[in-house]
């Protein structure tokens, strides 16, 4: 095991796949010579050269269009959209073209491609460079949606996304990029569609994604140490395909379920998961499923304001306690 940062793990995954498969190509704005504005592609241009690692103009339509045309004709492109907010600029490709073409063509066209994009708050960039938009992608049939929370998963899940025969939107969280942790050396691939139980507890089940995972884990420690509440914490990892089996089993075990979501409230990914849980294991629940989300506001820029709206460790602890207390009182 080596200690790698999340951002270095992203580059390691791409390098691993480019070494084993000549069809893998990488491109985006500042992705090649500059190594990416988030330094997630450092060293790839030097190792694989300008034929396979390319800088594009600021042309999100051309980036995703080119990825699509290349994928349908035999390449395995990894296209970078610098900030996930910019997916709105090229949403036609994400939602209308890339997601639907296999279906509309009756399976004649395959699109094995990955859209990598930097997602999420924490950098104080304001409302157009800080959003968590994984729920946008989740709402479109035909897209796989993955968002790792750890360096090991950044490597393993990205490698799996590149090998996947279907289009994958891969959300790299900006506030996790500097996190360092152990990453398996050598070839590392984590299958898509498997949630990961990171902590087992008997009182509540907390379901989280990406940057909300370390916060949920910290909250679980506080709940155990200070309040005697024992929490299971699950990292969803992949919204599509969704590991509903694990989520249902872990929810049924405690009967008290919380989602921790960075996306804004309405139609956030937790709403779909809550819907699945209440439909299928209603009788196992001891109370309502509680969603802890960013409120339904654009993200503010100032650090105090941003911290006030994105779910924090303190807010997760408080929401869990409030919910359990109110149930006890009733």
């Amino acid at each position: 095991m080596a200690q790698l940062s999340y951002r270095d793990a992203v580059a390691a995954a791409i390098a691993q796949e480019m070494r084993r498969d000549e069809r893998v190509v990488l491109f985006g704005e500042d992705t090649a010579a500059a190594g990416g504005v988030f330094k997630t592609t450092v060293g790839l241009f030097e190792e694989f050269g300008p034929r396979r690692v390319k800088d594009t103009p600021i042309s999100e339509l051309a980036i995703l269009g080119a990825a699509m045309g290349a994928a349908m004709t035999g390449l395995r492109p990894v296209a970078e959209i610098m900030f996930s907010d910019f997916l709105a600029c090229c949403w036609d490709y994400v939602a209308n073209e890339i997601a639907k073409t296999r279906y509309m063509s009756d399976g004649q066209i395959s699109l094995p491609l990955v859209i990598r994009t930097a997602n999420g708050a924490g950098s104080r960039f304001g409302a157009q460079h800080s959003q968590s938009v994984e729920n946008w992608a989740m709402s479109v049939p035909g897209l796989k949606v993955v968002a790792p929370s750890s360096p090991a998963d950044a490597k393993g899940l990205l490698a799996a996304a590149i090998r996947d025969p279907d289009p994958v939107v891969f959300f790299e969280h900006k506030s996790l990029l500097a996190n360092k942790a152990e990453v398996p050396e050598g070839e590392h691939v984590e299958p898509l569609g498997k949630a990961k139980v990171l902590r087992e507890g008997g009182d509540i089940t907390v379901i989280a994604l990406a940057a909300m995972v370390p916060r949920a884990l910290k909250a679980a420690e506080t709940l155990a140490a200070d309040h005697g509440i024992s929490a299971t914490v699950i990292d969803v990892r992949s919204l599509v395909p969704l590991d509903a089996k694990t989520l249902l089993a872990e929810s049924a075990r405690t009967g008290r379920v919380f989602t921790v979501e960075e996306n804004p409230r309405l139609c956030g990914w937790g709403a779909e998961i809550a819907s699945v849980i209440q439909e299928e294991i209603f009788d196992a629940l001891k109370g309502p499923i509680v969603r802890i989300t960013t409120p339904h506001v654009p993200l503010p820029a100032a650090d105090q304001l941003e911290d006030a709206v994105v779910p924090s460790v303190a807010r997760i602890v408080a929401e869990v306690r409030r919910t359990l207390d109110s149930r006890r009182a009733a």
């Binding site: 509309m104 009756d106 969704l242």
Partner: protein, 340 residues
Amino acid sequence: MSLTREAHPAHRSHEIPEATRLRLFQLQVEIRYCEKRAYDLFLQNLVKGTSHLALGQEAVAAGFAAAMNPDDYSFCTYRGHHHTLARGASMLSVLGELMGRQCGLMKGKGGSMHLTSVAHGVMGSYAIVGAHLPIAAGAAWSAQYRGTKQVACAFFGDGATNIGAFHEALNLAAVWKLPVIFCCENNLYMEYTPISAVTAVKNPAADRAASYGLERQVIDGNDADIVYSAARDALTKARSGGGPSLIECLTYRHSGHSRADPAKYRPKEELEEWLKRDPVTLYRARLLATGIAEAKLAQIESEVMAKLDRATEAAKASPTPSLESAMTDVWADGGHAWRN
């Protein structure tokens, strides 16, 4: 807009072998008859939804298809029946798709606006205006990367020249020197509005060429020989590493934008002038004038009509797709599961 004198190159029919010219004629006849049949089937309520006929624009599709190699790529718009047929997809599979039958190219899952026949190099018909230009650039990049000498051709209307994807695709193609041809079928109207009323330049595609370091090309898109020659030159250039081309073909659609449009906004004189320049009629007359026998042309026409009649009956007799097929091919594993 009348046909400009600047349209070039002058037709070089004498340089085109007779077999190719007969093919150009046959392709145009096939498209003409099949599009008319699609309209008839529409009136009989056998074609549902919408359709955008390419009546009047046959020469562009025939000229390009005759010049392309079988493994070259075509990217079409929702007005794409003509290109799909010209690349070799059968009339049965096209009409069947329009009618939502099992025999359709995509078994009813795409419809008139999304005709796709990968086996014939037709990599899709795209119904979001301009979306396929960057996709064609990507396919061209892939061909360049793989060293296959394939060329991607994107066909689009004049209206697409005012959307961002047109400009992003041309710039990327020029910067990366991609083997891609952007072919604008300027039929003078973006849907219901004259293109001249909404465009800052006179020739919506060609006048933008200089912005991307490309040669300005405006050709008579109703002359299959001219289209064929221009396509052949651009294909040769792309194959030899010379990069992209942008060709503006002046043409005219004989019917409205879509089946819902009677096209009453067009001046009578304009329509009459362009009907006189019907590409199929003109081409037939040219073949006769260059010594091809009337009987030969009549034979081609009757054979196409017989084939079309058989295709029509077969499409009518084809079953509708199984309802289960609505749930297939979301993913590469053939299924639609989003969860376990």
